[in-house]
Structures are given as C-alpha cells and as structure tokens.
Amino acid sequence: MTEAPTTGPASSDATSSALLGHPPGTGARRWRARRRSAPKLLVIPAALVALAALAPAAYLLLRQGFNLELLLRELNTPSTWPLIGNTVALLVGVCLLTGLLGVGLAVLIARTSLPLARLWTVLFTLPLGVPTFVGSYAWVAFSYQYFPGSRLIFGLGGAVVIMSLTLFPYVFLPTLTALRRLDPAQEEASRSLGQGPAAAFLRVTLPQLRYAIATGLLINALHVLAEFGAVEMLNYQTLTTGIVQRVTILGEPESARALAVVLALGAVAVLFIDRLVRGRPRPVRTGQGSPRPPMRWRLGWTTPLWLALSAAITAAALAVPLWITASGLISNLGGQGTAVDWPMLRSATLNTVQWAGWAALVATLCALPITLLAVRFPGRLSSLIERSVWVAHALPGVIMALALVYISVQWLFPLYQTAALLVIGYVVMYLPLAVGTQQVGVAQASIQLDEMSRALGKGPLSTFGRITVPLSLPAIGVGALLVGLDAGKELTTTLLLHPTGEHSLATRLWTTTEGEVLDFAAAAPYGLTLLIIGAIPALLLARATLKN
C-alpha cells in the first residue's frame, strides 16, 4: 500500500468523523517521520491524568494488606480458577456476538438495499441508553412471567446474549461510520480483478474496518470484565461477581482486592491482544475529493427476512425492557406501589444529569492532552500513557469505590461523600471512552493545517485552540456523550460514593429492590425517566453518525 498524501478537505473529514471509527491516518505517520519530541506542556498534564487514572489500580497493589502471598492464596482457592475460566468464556462470547451483530448490522445498513436504513440506525443505537442491570432484570422478569419453566436465559448463553444486546452498539456505531467513509475504489478494483462480491468485501473492505471494530470490541471486553449486576442476575459467576460478593456479603476487601489484581492483569492482557489484532492503522482514503457512495447489495426477495431479523434484535434489546417497565407503570397507576413522589423524581433526575454532565465535561478536558499526545506524538511514552487510562474501565465499580473511599479518607477528607468525588470516580472509569473517540477526530484534523498555523507564527496553544479543537469538535462531542451516557446509568460506584441523602435515578431504582429483584411497579417512574434521559444522548449519537 502506498503512502498517500493527506488531501481530503479536512474540515468535512472532521465533521463527519462521528465515532471512533477511524485510524489515526496518514498525518500521524508523516509526523512520526519527523520525530519531534512532545512538548512538556502536553506531556505533563497527560501524565498527571494517566497517573490519576491508574490510582485505583495502584491502590490494589499498594494498599496495606496486599502481598504476593495473599494473591497466591486467592489463586489457590478452589473457586478462583473456575471464575477465571467463566470470565474468559463470557468475554470471548460477548466479543464474538457483539462483533457479529455490530459489524453485520452496520453492513446491512450501509451496504444493502435494506429499507428504512435511518430508522434502523437509530433503533440499533438506542440500546446504549438501557442500563445493563435494568435490561437483565427486565429479561428475568419477562422470562419468569411468560416462560416460567424456562432456564434458557440463565448461565453462560443467556449472559452472552443479554449483555451483547446492550453492548453491540459500541461496535455497530464506529463500524457504520467507517463503512460510510470508505472509498469504494479499492473494493471495485478488487472486483474488476475477478474477485466475487463476498470475497472482495472480506479481503479488501473488512480489513479496513479492523481499527473501528477493534475499538468497539475493546470497550466491550473491558466492560464485560467489570460487569456485575447483569451477570449475577443471570446466574453466572465471574471474577467480578466473586469480587463484589467478597465485599458486600463476606466483607473481605483484602481478598476482593487480590482478585481485582487478577482482573486488572486480565485487562492488561486484553489491551495487549487488542494491540496485536488492531494492527497498523491504514489510510482510509487514497483519492482526491469525496468518495462515491459504495455499491449496495440488493436483498431482493430476502428483504422481509432481514427486516424481521432487525425487528427481532430491536425487540429483544429495547422492547423487553420497555414492555416490563411500562407494565410496571400500568400496575403503578392501577394503585400498586406508592404514588409518584415528584420532588424525589425531580431531584434524582437533576442529580443524574448534573453528575453525568460534570463527568462528561471533566473527562473531555482530561482526555484532550492524552489524545493529542497519542495522535500527534506517537511513541513509547505516549502509547504507555494512552493505554494506562483503559485499565480502570475493567475494574468493577465496587473496587473503584473502595479505592476512592480509601484515598479520600486518607488524603482528601473534605471530598469524602461529596458529588465531586463521585464525578472523579466517573471520570476515571469512563475516560477511555472520551480518549478513544477523540483520537479519531484529532487524527483526521489535518496536521497540515496545524503546520500552516505554526508557520504563520501561531504558538502551539493557539494552534490547538483555533485549529485542532474546532476541527475535532464533533468527535470530542461524541466522546462526551458516551461518557455522560455511561455515568448517568452507573449504579455500583454511585451507591457507595453518593453524598449522603442524595440520589441518582439509578440508585433510586435500586431502593425498590427490597424484594431483591426490581419492583418494576414502584421503580417505573425512575426507570422510565432513566430510559428517556438515556435515549437523548443515544439519539444524538445516531444523528452524528447519520450526518455523514
């Protein structure tokens, strides 16, 4: 493949870079060739953020009570190895299924004659707004209600399917973006050289999507490592359920931390595999001007089949939680449960939006130096800094909370049990979503414009503010949306860190679990509000993708 000059109109490139879809392109390589060392102005804040992001992992190792002996003892506990095996099985299963669903649906929308493509794009994005614990509780309630004898949704298979139904948009969105921006010329060339349509797609187009798919899968893999509520509800045991039960039932934080070290090592392994799978970034565009729309496969008489499949996926991902929540609301209105407490609902909604909003803002600002460093000054240090922020994404919320409780009680007591500490927790957990997304935008903001700005006498800060940021703004916005979305539906950490007496929608939902499963009647007002609030950023994400 030849090294092509970056040519496309940079501004439109950046505007259309909706979601982490694209590889740091040719600009980054040109820059690397020049080997400028990164300015301290960038390295210092990036390194500080990375250190803060690693603090929870450091807490695991440095907290008094941890030592190698404890780790070995935990590894020798008979229950540990099966937990590790279960975790790996779930991880592989979810990655395979979300990969299949995400890529398959993106291809269906971008490359076939499927009717109502825009509608399906929105519907396939909305599952992002459904918290996994709400989704899984709804599925369990649905199963007991309509299929009382069935154990189908329990165990590995059920956990893989139900988690994948919420997580596949993380693969779907970037893949769709990447597909829509691909120049069809290469695939056409391959066809003209005698390849069949499927072979040309698999051998030419799919490899170009590798970066986008890998980013989505990385997010999902780390999410699976950290997931608790859904996994427990579906009768599956992983390292994380073991960790959480050690804290909440056994009250054994030492043992939980030792297991979390194993989990963090798993995250490092996942990051390493991701590096291998992802491969070298490829230039997306090799020609001048804008790409032609690609060929679309005619579905013909199979169209109803594909429509039915899409409808079934939508129904499973959205209709089941909505149906259970809505029927909860109906029995609530019918007099079951207590009347809606409007002030409580209002304050929970405001808290949710406020905490998630701050998390999105702070994470966005913290991610910027890391993004710039990784994209514009690639090298060992910047790669290390960038990778280090991902580890926290794989740690269960309860470990994050324990770490922040400990750190704040020891050194930051005024912050303890304030919203500020909670926001810090969200930022550390969801920073990777912002970093991953921003990289795409910054990579596509042509470096040549930066160079021109510098050549015309502007300083680095000025260039950053006037050229780089405006060009990457859409991607930065998408990153902020993803962080806000995840922070808004977070439960475990919020339960342990929220200011005493203050609630989010998710913790309010949780207070209706006196019967140990969600009481959908009492929870309905909070559940519906949470689903609606989650739908807004999800819709914005779909719009950003469609804007291409």
């Binding site: 008979p78 229950s79 099966p82 369990v140 007991y144 004898g149 154990r151 427990e232 509800m233 009768n235 045991q237 359920t241 039960q245 050690r246 804290v247 909440t248 039932i249 056994l250 009250g251 054994e252 934080p253 029995s331 405001l350 406020q354 998630a356 909003g357 701050w358 999105a360 803002l361 966005t364 324990l402 409780v405 400990y406 303890y416 304030t418 919203a419 006498g457 502007k458 300083g459 800060l461 000025s462 950053f464 503010g465 006037r466 940021v469 405006p470 703004l473 902020a480 339960l495 342990l496 200011p499 005493t500 007496g501 207070t511 679990t513 006196e514 019967g515 140990e516 499963v517 009481d519």
Partner: protein, 358 residues
C-alpha cells in the same frame, strides 16, 4: 516564537469551546445551588438542629421509614446512607476514627460482631438492651437486636408436599435431593455457615457446603430463589422468610401465588432466627442522640411499630404484632444460641470460598 503575545488570542479561541461544555454541565445544575453550597447548608443546619447519620445495611425502604419515624417522634434529623451490610461495615472500618456514621443498623448479626470485635462500637446500656428480646441479646451487649429473620424453605406445592420436605438442611447433601432445591450465598447463608462451624465443626461444615454446591442450584440472590421456586423451576429453596411476604405484598394478584413458606420449626440450622443489629459508633460525637435512636428502635410505639408495619421481619418486642401474616415468634421453635458467637464471619467466609460457592 513569542508565546506571551499569543496567550490571549489563545484563550479567546478556546473560550467558546469551554463555554459550550460548561454550559452543558451548568445547565444541569439546579439554579443557584452547587454541591459545595448544598454541603455548606447542610453543615449549617446540623449546627442548628440535632442530626445523626445512619448507615443502614437494611433494604432502603425500611431504613427510610425508620429514619422518618425517628425524626417525627424526636425532632432529631436523620441523614440516611443505605447499602449492604458488608460494604458499609468495610466503609466504617476504612473511615476509622473519622467515621461519618453515628449509628449503624444491619440485616445480619455477623458484621455487628465484627465491628464490636474491632472495638468500633460503644456498648449498649443495660436499660436499652432490657427492652429487646433477651434470647437475641449478644453476650457483651455491644449491639442491640431490634428485629429477627427466620431461615425457611420456600416450596412449590405443585412439585412437592410440605410433608416431604427434609427435616434438616444437613440432609440436603444426600443424593436423593440432587437438583431439587435452590439456595443463594447471602449474608444469612454465611450466618448459617458460621453457626454450623460452631455446632458441627469446620470440617463437617466444609463437607456440607460442598454437598450443597453439588446438589443445589445457586440462584445467587434470595429474591431469585423465591421467584424460581414460584415459577416451578425447583421444588424448594433455602431462604429467609420475609422475601416471600414482600412478594405477596407487591403482587397484583396475591391469590395466584403458588409457593408457600415452610418454617422448619425445630432445632435445626435451617430454622435459625437471625437478629438484625443496631450499634452506636464509638467514634461518634453524638452518643446521646445515637443511643436515643437505639432506645426508640426497640420501643413498642417507636421503631417496633415501624418494623411491624413496613417490613415482614419479626419485631423483637413481644407486645408488637406484625401487620403481615407471620406466625407469632413465640409459637416457633428455633435453635437457642448467642448471636455474638456468629462473629466468626471470617472463618465462614473462608469456607464459602473453599467450597466454591462464592
């Protein structure tokens, strides 16, 4: 390059972006109150009116009802922090001398015993302990029992006759019960384990746990033991009595509920009656108000009434009857033991891990 000169246009150029992001976050704030001022206000309030902070491992709805009742009866404000026994006990240990909690209430005796052993609790005065059911008062009196929960079987009469249920949970490891019952590794299950260690020894307990793991289905949560038995997936399950009563209360059609509760009504470990505890933190600067809460908690017209009305747990004051259709506690047979002895939670936890249940 002159960085000085470039600084201000830089700031000017970045400003709009920051403004947008800030607006995004600020739009979310309720008008004119940021977290800091909210916190300040609550501190001011604390100075004017008395206020205690309650950490609760009980389900939040009951904890909230207790907090509201105490506020109503005494005028002392309660700041409530609800969570799980184990996590909150750990939080109190981490907070140490600076703990924000004045009072801690739990579901299980174990975490209370754990905190007492670490010297984090103020012993409860005799006159308050005297108001509780004496059979539940732990030796040493470091915490106050204020409600009780019974271990039971839930069973599905369409699948098994009540008369055919095993008389002892120790029988469940026999081959005949394989695949027929559900259990959940809850706090109460750990208390059962702790009790077994004290009565049949650690080795026999470990064997029993391994047998349970082999023969039973781990439903992870008591609520799912109940729902799966109700759905007919298992003949019966080990759980705590009150989840079943909560289901009947929350159900649209309670008359359609198939499953039933079976109190073992004997001296078996499956009939354990576990005390929910309340304790005052030694680090609290509000010992008087905190003890007042404990005193109120066991008063017939105070906390006991709230327990009787908003939770299917057994009140410990024999003059108070639950509004739920519970058998009277003094008609039930259950093992007599010192609740303080269940502070061997670490050993119990270790066995649960050894057996591969957690």
């Amino acid at each position: 390059m002159n960085r000085q000169r470039n600084l201000s246009p830089t700031l000017r150029s970045i400003a709009p972006i920051f403004a947008i992001l800030l607006a995004f976050a600020l739009a979310a704030c309720s008008p004119g109150d940021t977290d800091q001022t909210a916190a300040d206000q609550s501190v001011d309030k604390a100075a004017e009116t008395t206020e205690i902070t309650l950490y609760s491992g009980q389900h939040e709805s009951l904890a909230k009802a207790l907090a509201d009742g105490f506020e109503r009866d005494t005028g002392i404000q309660v700041r409530l922090r609800a969570g799980k026994d184990g996590a909150l006990a750990n939080q109190i240990i981490e907070e140490g001398q600076r703990s924000r909690a004045d009072v801690f209430i739990t579901e299980e005796p174990g975490p209370m015993g754990d905190l007492a052993r670490r010297g984090l609790l103020t012993p409860v005065p005799e006159d308050i302990l005297a108001k509780s059911a004496q059979r539940f008062v732990p030796a040493g009196g470091s915490w106050l029992p204020w409600a009780a929960r019974s271990r039971v079987f839930y069973f599905n009469p369409e699948l098994i006759d009540e008369a055919d249920l095993p008389e002892s949970i120790l029988d469940l490891t026999r081959p005949e019960w394989k695949g027929r019952f559900a259990y959940a590794p809850s706090g109460a299950f750990r208390s059962t384990t702790a009790y077994l260690i004290n009565t049949i020894g650690a080795d026999a307990t470990l064997d029993w746990l391994k047998g349970i793991r082999e023969n039973g289905i781990n439903e992870q949560k008591n609520g799912k033991v109940r729902d799966s038995v109700e759905a007919g997936q298992h003949e019966f399950g080990l759980s705590n009595h009150y989840y079943w009563y909560i289901m009947t209360r929350n159900s649209d059609h309670p008359e359609d509920i198939v499953s039933r509760v079976h109190f073992l009504n004997n001296e078996d470990a499956g009939a354990l009656m576990l005390a929910s505890g309340a304790g005052v933190l030694a680090s609290s600067s509000k010992q008087t108000e905190a003890m007042q809460f404990l005193d109120w908690l066991v008063a017939a017209e105070g906390g006991q009434k709230v327990v009787a009305e908003s939770s299917p747990q057994f009140p410990v004051n024999s003059n108070v009857d639950s509004v739920y259709d519970l058998p009277a506690i003094n008609t039930l047979t259950f093992p007599e033991f010192d609740q303080a002895e269940l502070d061997n939670v670490d050993e119990a936890s270790d066995l649960l891990k050894q057996a591969g249940i957690i």
